[in-house]
Subunit: 397 residues, 2 copies
């Protein structure tokens, strides 16, 4: 069986490493050898062992009937979409690690794959090496998934962990993360939550079987979280994590990306550093969690190669996967109920007038107090908080 | 599609609840309704809604060509084995939650299923509701699994958690667990590690594709763990958990069930109460963990129903699953290297003579000292410790 990799960056080269390092065991699991025939890249790689595999035109791959399986690790929506679509239409299976492509064109490419009796898989697009998409589609099939919430961005989790452990400021930790290669030079997509937003859109689409537009999901990042917020979190024995979360309500979901205060009893509380984890609550299963390396060359490539094996085992067959193009209207996020932690420059009396009897955290920042509300809807919170001088509000999970 | 449940105890009745509660979403996922036609039990259940489904002879099910899928939730090797074998030979798919049956007869029943072009699945036999078997077989297929270690027994994890949190003695917590229904009247299989031993045998068999005999796996339970051991664990900032662990070495594995001291950085450290979790280390993936409810009626039934959906989707097809009857010779466990925590009634000088420069924990129990060795093989430890008056040794992960 012959394969091609489109895009030989961090993940694409990781796929090469996995396929060569574990060649024998993969061949045993598939029943035949997976031979890499092409690498699509604009660079030449002179002297490298894969030099002779490099081609510059995707049509060379699309038009070669020997190629059964194509890996897309280029990133971004275009030209990845054009290339992937062409491969599927040429009767080739495709796996991708590209969450931007999947969030935007997932339904379309799944349909194209079905029409051509091949598969379009994307295990690596959420949670890197963590198996989460296939477990949702093929294991948790006896359950109504009532909630899925994840720490799905390693960069922000590293930053939040360092801020929590060292008490450092956001800007300092971001710089350190950039120096270590954990954060990109332009870190916007990570720290403002855009990456997590696409990932929770994908997970929610898979659970409901319809298109969830990531642009419909209210998203806040962690760039506004300060060392003072961490001190308040410590004072109430909680940790701040950037969560991407989706909760069932009626026939739809409420989704959000935002920093949350987590209780030590929550399974996501202990997920530190660059690790990712996805928490699932099923109406029969109860709580479950999938934990591991959410990024990085080899872990992500491990998930891509898992898809390759799955497609090789289903070479002549489309594995049914429901994700209709029809758009799901998400519910109004102001309806979701939770507790809120609030920092205010108001008097205790004013807070009590608005929120009733609450416990206060004092002495962290001069001239302000902190408190945690009871469980209420966000609309209710907004209305009650409008009379106060709010410095910061963080939701509590 | 018609199904039958053999054994209507805790799990069997849970399967009934899952199938009826989530009937519509399961039908949507399968593409047709799963109708429960028979319940095999020796009891009659007068007045219950399922009363008319009850039959007393398994042949009624085996001989009914309308039944496609059979659930085995009786427990124990016999008569479960005879019944399951008959169902597979009659061309029916079977799923089971019965670890005793799978550990003992897994290879045989997988072969029987293949010969009859049906499936024998057992996701619920390890980790209850946690998806672990299908993720190993269908997701982590690009990796060499170098280690799999789990907290796979809820009863013992509950006991260890309570002993750690409250400082209570083993006997008191066991009694409390029995009163709460978390431990059975005869708790031997749980507290002596026999349950965990079967589960790690199953996981190791799946990873290596051969029969691993659970009786070959050295097994210690938690009945010898005392409140003093917990104090020592606290003193070295670790927690004691009963682990079932398997590590690759050469072409085989070293497996063991025993209490281990876990570091706070280990993903299994935070797995408390009756929860289970399975840690996996792949040569490409790195660390991963699967967490959730490892027992209980509905979580376990959720996994059984996941198998039902999988089998219904592959009604006319055997899903390849490699688990040969040929036995794998496990490696000598004294070869595995780790650190050891040791309580001795010997002098510091004698300890230093045997183990070199170590840090001591004093003042926990009069007349003894504790210390942690460097990393060494168990054979090496045994030889060095032979000169000391050892009160207790606990391995460190």
């Amino acid at each position: 069986m012959k394969a091609a990799i489109m895009g030989f960056g961090t993940i694409g080269s990781g796929v090469y490493t996995v396929l060569t390092t574990n060649e024998d065991i993969i061949a045993k699991r598939v029943g035949e050898k997976i031979e890499l025939k092409y690498i699509l890249d604009l660079r030449e790689f002179p002297g490298e062992p894969w030099e002779k595999l490099v081609v510059n035109d995707y049509k060379t791959i699309a038009e070669d009937p020997e190629v059964d399986i194509v890996v897309e690790t280029m990133g971004g929506v275009e030209p990845a979409y054009t290339f992937v679509k062409a491969m599927l239409e040429a009767g080739k299976h495709v796996t991708t690690s590209n969450k931007a492509l999947v969030a935007d064109k997932g339904a379309d490419l799944i349909k194209t794959a079905r029409e051509n009796n091949v598969n379009f898989l994307f295990e690596a697009s959420v949670g890197g090496g963590i198996p989460i998409i296939r477990p949702i589609l093929e294991c948790l099939t006896g359950d109504v998934i009532e909630e899925i919430s994840g720490i799905v961005n390693g960069t922000t989790n590293y930053i939040m962990t360092k801020m929590t452990m060292d008490g450092s400021d956001f800007a300092d930790v971001l710089k350190e993360a950039q120096d270590l290669g954990y954060a990109e030079k332009d870190p916007t997509a990570d720290i403002e939550g855009h990456d997590a937003q696409r990932k929770i859109a994908i997970l929610t689409s898979l659970i409901c079987g319809q298109q969830v537009e990531y642009t419909d999901i209210p998203t806040e990042g962690i760039s506004q979280i300060t060392a003072d917020d961490i001190k308040y979190a410590n004072a109430v024995n909680r940790r701040i994590k950037l969560l991407a979360t989706s909760t069932a309500t009626g026939n739809t979901y409420i989704a959000r990306v935002a920093p949350y205060l987590l209780d030590p009893k929550h399974p996501l509380y202990s997920v530190d550093d660059v690790f990712n984890a996805i928490f699932v609550h099923g109406n029969m299963l109860g709580d479950g969690m999938f934990y591991g390396s959410g990024a990085g060359s080899l872990p992500t490539a491990s998930a891509v190669v898992g898809d390759i094996v799955e497609m090789a085992r289903h070479k002549d067959e489309n594995i049914p996967l429901e994700w209709k193009e029809e758009k799901l209207e998400l519910a109004d996020p102001s309806g979701v109920e939770c507790r809120f932690f609030v920092r205010v420059k108001s008097s205790k009396d004013d807070v009590k007038k608005a929120f009733g009897d609450v416990e206060f955290v004092e002495g962290i920042v001069e001239g302000e107090i902190g408190f945690m509300t009871n469980v209420m809807s966000e609309a209710d919170y907004d209305s009650k908080a409008s009379s106060l001088d709010v410095v910061k509000m963080i939701r509590v999970k």
